[in-house]
């Protein structure tokens, strides 16, 4: 695969026009500029320009102590804040040579999976507005609200959870959490299933999404994408299964895949993953051991040994990695964030070439990008 398909290589000819989609546009999850060279309705070339909300996080983290970084990792992507907390926390734990307590491992998995459900629900909601299915957005946000309340009950905050701590978590489960969570999750499972049926049986929606923006498994792995866009092509790449962290080894779950690799499949993967996450949380609530939820003394002032570590996690959007270099002081020497949305954003322009203008919104939204994390 060449690199010319990521750039606008020449000025438009008389039959073509150059269309700037962004940096502010109602369909976008955040500001980015998508330049399209179109001929009639067909896209000839596409180029993605990012950096509109660059926060310089990697530089900022070099000047913060390890525990100060924890709440900042939430802001990498607010929809995946628990995944960000967790992967950062595991990186520091590995450098410190400590392990979270058994109960804390389960609590982190519960928080991670709730986080995945709410991220998928909002992702699908935003996507459905882009394909002209506004009703579903309202439903999805309503369902997400109860999941966010479940997260709030554990972590104390609705979006930026700041939940993981080195060797443990910040809070234990509140009283009666299990019955409350099982009741809500049961309802959400049924509702999402009925939404899934509604979407799968709507002929207009099917025409709009089936066979649109097709990625094959070969092209998808060539482009370096991970997460739902890759699993929608049939590749069983899920870090929870391939490189089990926390307690995913002890849990029973399927890696959701679809075969077609089109817009419909990518959304279907997310819908089915919601059910799978609910199943994981139910197992966790059954199996969770009693005991301390944090170390006897939580290390707040941390000076890890000299060394480096690369940890990965299955973020709602794919593979999130963090590369941490420690020089033995109380601040990281280098902190690199390998975001999943960065990889999917890079793969977007080649996917758009040859498609119709009207499908751009559907394809872009089905990749479930997060501009905040692309720019960091």
């Amino acid at each position: 695969m060449t690199h010319e398909n990521t750039q606008i290589t020449s000025p438009p000819s008389p039959s073509e026009i150059l269309l700037h989609l962004g940096p502010q546009h109602p369909l976008q999850p955040g500001p980015f500029l998508l330049d399209l060279k179109i001929d009639g309705e067909t896209i000839r070339e596409a180029e993605l320009k990012i950096g509109y909300i660059h926060k310089g996080m990697e530089k900022v983290f070099e000047d913060r102590t390890y525990i100060q970084i924890m709440p900042l990792t939430d802001r990498i992507c607010y929809l995946a804040s628990n995944a960000n907390n967790d992967v950062y926390c595991r990186a520091v734990e590995e450098l410190l040579g400590i392990e979270p307590t058994p109960r804390a491992k389960y609590l982190r998995v519960i928080a991670n999976e709730l986080n995945r459900i709410q991220s998928h629900l909002l992702g699908i909601g935003e996507y459905t507005t882009d394909v002209g299915f506004l009703t579903m957005f309202i439903y999805m946000v309503r369902e997400r609200e109860s999941i966010v309340s479940l997260l709030e009950a554990i972590t104390g905050s609705r979006l930026n959870h700041n939940y993981a701590r080195f060797g443990g978590v910040a809070n234990d489960l509140p009283p009666n959490y299990k019955s409350m969570a099982l009741k809500t999750l049961g309802e959400i499972g049924k509702l999402v299933k009925s939404h899934d049926e509604m979407m799968s049986s709507d002929s207009i929606y099917l025409k709009r999404t089936k066979g649109v923006g097709v990625l094959t498994d070969k092209v998808a792995s060539e482009l370096g994408v991970a997460g739902p866009p890759l699993r929608a092509t049939g590749v069983e790449y899920d870090l929870r299964r391939i490189e089990p962290y926390l307690v995913y080894d002890d849990l029973d779950f399927k890696v959701i895949t679809q075969q077609d690799g089109d817009v419909f499949s990518r959304v279907k993967v997310r819908l089915l993953e919601i059910q799978e996450s609910i199943y994981i949380i139910e197992q966790c609530l059954d199996q969770i051991p009693s005991g301390p939820y944090k170390q006897h003394v939580t290390p707040y002032i941390t000076r890890p040994k000299v060394g480096e570590v690369y940890t990965r996690i299955e973020d709602p959007r794919g593979e999130l990695g963090m590369y941490l270099v420690s020089d033995g002081s109380n601040k990281p020497y280098r902190f690199r964030i390998r975001g999943p949305a960065f990889a999917t954003a890079q793969a977007l322009p080649p996917l758009l070439i040859g498609t119709y203008m009207a499908d751009v919104a559907a394809i872009a939204a089905s990749m479930d990008s997060c501009t905040s994390e692309v720019d960091r």
Binding site: Q7, G51, K59, S221, Y310, E319, Y323, R334, F342, D375
Partner: protein, 152 residues
């Protein structure tokens, strides 16, 4: 296809003069230091052996005289992540691009270039990605970066 840690033995055998400091800290991680002039051959070797996923490229600055490019290579079917580090001189950091081997290397190389000033030879479209154009040539992620002049 050897996508487990025996790959490190194969790699050392194939490039004995370009690989040093091989270490396998855990079952899922392996690391080595590589000669920066051999990076494309080594990556092509790994790709042919089944390491089909370039996870990340990062730069690390070690003033006053060194810079490092760190590659994390892994596979879509196995958990082993190989960390390869190439050391470059800080006054003229340049290394060959991997864009022909791993398609997704492009954005990682562009980002490392704009943040550290590490030149990736033959990288297509080596221009600013995240930074605004007026910060081209500032190399803000270097350790001794003093800050962008505040024009106001």
């Amino acid at each position: 296809m050897a996508t487990d840690k025996t790959i490190m033995v194969e790699l050392t055998d194939a490039f004995s003069d370009a690989i040093s400091d091989v270490d396998v800290p855990s079952a899922n991680r392996a690391e080595a230091r590589i000669d920066s002039s051999k990076v494309t051959e080594i990556m092509q070797f790994l790709r042919d052996k089944g390491f089909d996923h370039l996870s990340c490229i990062s730069g690390v600055d070690y003033p006053p005289d060194k810079m490092e490019v760190v590659y994390h290579v892994t596979s879509y079917s196995a958990p082993l992540v190989i960390t390869l580090k190439a050391t470059l001189p800080r006054d003229d950091p340049n290394i060959d691009s991997l864009c022909d081997i791993y398609w997704n290397a492009n954005w990682y190389e562009r980002e490392t270039w704009e943040m550290f000033g590490i030149v990736f030879n033959d990288c297509p479209y080596l221009k600013v990605l995240i930074l605004p154009e007026e910060m081209d040539g500032e190399w803000p992620m270097r350790r001794d970066y003093a800050g962008y002049p505040n024009a106001t």
